[in-house]
Symmetry: C2
Subunit: 237 residues, 2 copies
Amino acid sequence: MRLDILKQYQAQTKCLVALDSIIFGFDGDELKLLLVKRGIEEEDHTWSLMGGWVQPDESLEGASTRILYELTNLTDIYLEQLHTFGNPRRDPVERTVSVAYFALINVEDYDHRISKNFETHWFSLDELPKMLFDHDAMVKMAIDHLRYKASQHPIGFELLPEKFTIPQLQKLYEAIFGTELDKRNFSRKLLSTNLLIKLDEKQKGYSKKGAFFYKIDEEKYRKQFNNFLNFLPGSAS
Amino acid sequence: MRLDILKQYQAQTKCLVALDSIIFGFDGDELKLLLVKRGIEEEDHTWSLMGGWVQPDESLEGASTRILYELTNLTDIYLEQLHTFGNPRRDPVERTVSVAYFALINVEDYDHRISKNFETHWFSLDELPKMLFDHDAMVKMAIDHLRYKASQHPIGFELLPEKFTIPQLQKLYEAIFGTELDKRNFSRKLLSTNLLIKLDEKQKGYSKKGAFFYKIDEEKYRKQFNNFLNFLPGSAS
DNA sequence: ACAAAAGTGTTCCAGTTACACCCATGT
DNA sequence: ACATGGGTGTAACTGGAACACTTTTGT
């Protein structure tokens, strides 16, 4: 290698590189955000996004799945890189560049297997606590991104259990967009994608009649994932 | 500050943080990408994206505008953070996390003020040379993003001179999407945005009749920037 | 006069919206 | 029997797609 190249590299100041995950869940009624209180931050009572350091021999994707696994014991989570935050003073301790990842998980899968290394809580989006550093900006960007993406792709499935009903799905979309949707138009639109497979089973307990469960046609969903546009149907009267 | 926090920070391995810009331009006919040969890389004849190191007290946005200014002497360039690339072996010299920025510039503005510190060349998208590191992946992602974004927002204006004609604009969109568009539908769609202001002046030389120049209504454009969906009209017969 | 590009209008179709009633079941 | 949420059909409208001729002017 040429010496001048090496010198040029060595002259640069290095930076801490961290990763934070904005984790969304849906409890059947409201959109929620999963925040943690890590041991080291307990004293100032600040909630924060789940995060960690990117390890020396680890890719960013690798770090994001590792960190989510450490928290939830879940693999196969929907994860997408959102944005990198690098303001020189965002972390008062020392300059840290943080790559934010956007995660959608199913609250039901999560609940039973919760890790005990962290104190965690699902917060409603309109009751978010004060958060560490610039985590509020990360969350804001993630919410915008979720809305944008959900209007284009049927990404909502990632937030639901394997079996779900059309009314559940509608509630989810209503929670994401903060609007009411017309159930006739909504179900027509959803069913017209041919991505839903109707099951024989009905949901019990929630309503008297009971709603049929559906599951997603995984194969079609993966195939068509990048072809959706303008997914969201119109609003209710 | 608590000692354990400080220790935890000090235990982490730091990383070089760089920034690369994917710079698009439009010459009236084809979409182009601006690549550079920097002094230090000359010997292996490899073209690369314009890039640089993020400085110790500089934000990512700051670094991106600085680096673009160093190359072009232009300010007020359309810049958007695209993605962060952090594969541990992407840079064989030493691990470097690179934040990629997406830039749209007007080739006319650029040409006269070109900096002489770099050997640069505008490449057509279908004649791209071998590039440094993972710059080809960055470019691929940027092209996808440009298409996606241009289908949703009238972002194309950023690539054109202040005064432009509707046929020029159409050629630009055709270049971005690699399709032909119907000029009747195209101009109707564009004019229906009410974002174009017709000027008295006509373009000379290119056609016998001459096409009217338009300029963009900056104020409306900024205001509506985040409200566009499904911008691209259908293709020609 | 003719060539070359600019400019413009209409019809058709598909997808979205708005809207109201019957169904199944648990109590 | 009645209350609660589940499930469906239709008419009107809007926006996109397809399509061809006239206009201007430099040569």
